[in-house]
């Protein structure tokens, strides 16, 4: 796994990018991707993630800082000499060439002989289960098939790094899930270093070794998916990844890994201080809906409980989704597993809820 440093296979070192010379689209980016790692850049549109990918591919130049590939700075190397495979959002298959010619293109550029080319093309097409389609034209293929060909073309010349720019955006849900699995499998089987850009958090969580969450031109958090989801380091990440309940309040006291937060309506809750430092500070606490518990038996005996009014109960089959009014927030969601002993709360009733302090994270108050 990578850490921020300069020892990775792909390294962004203090990279900045500005298009107009005034405002920075990418601000002081430091990122290191280990060899063979699947890293996803996740973020809302305009967060700078695609710009970073384009700088790595060589289609944009960094205004400041250095991008390194296998220890070599690549800022002054043109895109066609970087040897980085890329899968484009709209696939970018050459429409006037057959599938086989599309795959042959990078091999011809590298001066490979016919027999070597044919062998590699066959292997790449078999890899994406498109072996029978070499003579078709891209226009004769479905979206999913084109996607596979684009993937095969990016892999056929055996690059060490492959970049993917929202490659599954145009596919329907079922196909997308299937391709997520296939891309991950291929990347791991071939041991390729992959940098994947998406705005779909499910994609990021299910596919990646590490996820870099982008916002406002910076990486807000870089962590493996489980850590990102369970231990968000700031309010943006907590809000952006998965469903999230927030309550605003003020830190009452901090003792190591534990703090008490006084909510705006005066109630006390337990939380884990994350990026708050001292008592009296404003904070926004974040709790995942599935970590909210209404059965006090499952909680620590001296856990703080808090009153909640049931607004709405939605039966979703495998889970119950209960919308609560907690400390003035009417959109506080509790998700409970449909277990035999699970209570179905009636709207209008008042219940007591609580959580383990480690699941309730006291984060910064966004300005």
């Amino acid at each position: 796994m990578s850490a921020n440093g300069t020892d990775g296979f792909v390294v962004f070192d203090k990279v900045q990018k500005s298009y107009d010379g005034e405002s920075l689209v990418v601000k002081d980016l430091n990122l290191s991707v280990a060899k063979g790692e699947f890293l996803t850049m996740l973020g809302p549109s305009g967060s700078g993630k695609t710009t970073c990918l384009m700088m790595l591919a060589g289609f944009e130049t960094a205004t400041n800082g250095e991008i390194m590939l296998d220890g070599r700075p690549i800022n002054s190397i043109p895109p066609h000499k970087r040897g980085i495979g890329m899968v484009f959002q709209n696939y970018a298959l050459f429409p006037h060439m057959s599938v086989g010619e599309n795959l042959s293109f990078p091999l011809e550029v590298r001066g490979m002989g016919k027999s070597v080319r044919e062998q590699k093309i066959k292997r790449a097409l078999d890899m994406v289960q498109m072996g029978a389609f070499a003579s078709r034209r891209p226009a004769q293929l479905s979206g999913g098939q084109q996607q596979r060909i684009a993937l095969a073309r990016a892999l056929v010349f055996e690059p060490e790094v492959v970049l993917m720019d929202e490659p599954l955006g145009a596919l329907d849900k079922q196909l997308r899930e299937h391709m997520q699995f296939e891309i991950t499998r291929l990347a791991h089987d071939l041991g390729i270093t992959t940098v994947y850009v998406t705005h779909d958090q499910t994609e990021a969580l299910t596919m990646s070794d590490n996820v870099a969450v982008f916002d406002d031109g910076r990486i807000q958090q870089l962590a493996p998916p489980d850590k990102l989801y369970e231990e968000p380091e700031n309010s943006f990440v907590a809000q952006f990844i998965g469903e999230n309940n927030t309550l605003d309040g003020r830190i009452k006291e901090i003792r190591g890994e534990h703090c008490v937060v006084e909510l705006d309506n005066g109630e006390m809750i337990d939380a884990r201080p994350v990026n708050v430092t001292k008592a009296g500070e404003r904070t926004r606490v974040s709790i995942r809906p599935e970590r909210v518990e209404s059965n006090p038996e499952r909680l620590h005996p001296d856990a703080h409980l808090i009153k909640a009014e049931v607004v709405e109960f939605i039966y979703m089959g495998d889970v119950f989704r209960t919308r609560l009014k907690v400390a003035g927030n009417e959109n506080f969601i509790m998700k409970s597993r449909n277990a035999p002993d699970q209570v179905r709360h009636k709207p209008g009733s008042t219940i007591e809820i609580g959580w383990l302090p480690k699941d309730c994270r006291a984060l910064d108050m966004p300005s």
């Binding site: 895109p79 495979g85 484009f88 429409p95 990078p106």
Partner: protein, 283 residues
């Protein structure tokens, strides 16, 4: 499009009126061209139908004007000149126009509108003004009355056509294709010749055709800029009408119509082929 069952009398009247108008327009456009063709086979040196011709008797017709044309040194020279000037200026205009269109289609290109207007201006400025300007300018730099002068002048006239057709093709061009080519290791020039060029070829070809035809039937600039050594077919026809009125020019005109039709057919076939290759229409 047949009339539907619910058509009213008014609909029916309009339906037939519309057809009549369409045929009238066709007739108006085609008649002057079509009338030339039989007249070019006239035995008599007249520009009108003789009684023999109207009776369709074989004595009324002959190939003498074609023979006249083929055996005339000045006509042969003018054909050679027309092709030399046409092909050279088409090659230049196509190269320059394609490059200009590629540059103008890039989003980072500054002053796009102004540059485009400037490059298109030879199409809009009255020809006689361009011709007069070129005459004075070319005389200054001593290329008036040379092939180079006429070729450059016709290049300036033909380039706007290429720019317009290539720009239109580039509107639908997906620029991520050139990026994809680069990511696959192709140098910019290789990406251009292997990816961009084949895809914009229909635009380039039709632009080239327009440029060629512009040069091929241009007379005003030739009158100003060309010397006696660069007489083109239109220039020769022009003096044919003014100096010795002979139906030879009808024979030449007929041959030129034939050539135009052939060119259009070739272009259409090429266009269809390239569309099929681009995967735009089913193969």
């Amino acid at each position: 499009m047949a009339l539907p069952a619910y058509a009213t009398t008014k609909d029916k009247i309009w339906y037939y009126t519309f057809r009549v108008i369409c045929y009238a327009i066709f007739f108006f456009l085609m008649a002057p061209i079509m009338i030339m063709i039989p007249l070019s086979f006239n035995v008599q040196p007249y520009f009108s139908f003789t009684p023999e011709m109207l009776r369709l008797s074989p004595e009324g017709y002959s190939l003498r004007w074609y023979q006249d044309f083929l055996s005339s040194d000045s006509w042969m020279r003018s054909i050679r000149n027309s092709f030399i000037i046409g092909i050279a200026s088409t090659a230049l205009a196509t190269t320059l126009g394609t490059l200009a269109a590629l540059g103008l289609s890039r989003s980072e290109m500054p002053f796009k509108g102004a540059i485009m207007a400037l490059l298109i201006s030879p199409m809009i400025v009255p020809l006689i003004i361009s011709a007069a300007g070129m005459f004075f300018f070319f005389s200054q730099i001593n290329i008036s009355g040379t092939y180079l002068g006429v070729i450059l002048a016709h290049t300036a006239l033909g380039t706007p056509f290429v720019i317009i057709t290539v720009t239109a093709t580039l509107v639908g061009f997906d620029h991520s294709l050139t990026r994809a080519a680069a990511s696959l290791g192709a140098s910019p020039s290789r990406a251009f010749f292997k990816i961009t060029m084949p895809l914009i070829l229909p635009g380039v070809i039709s632009g080239a055709l327009f440029a060629f035809i512009t040069s091929f039937d241009e007379i005003v600039i030739v009158l100003f800029v060309a010397g006696p050594g660069q007489r083109t077919i239109p220039r020769e026809m022009w003096s044919g009408i003014r100096e010795d009125i002979s139906p030879t020019i009808l024979a030449v005109a007929t041959l030129m119509v034939l050539l135009s039709v052939l060119l259009l057919l070739v272009i259409e076939l090429l266009r269809r082929r390239s569309e099929r290759l681009r995967g735009l229409s089913p193969g």
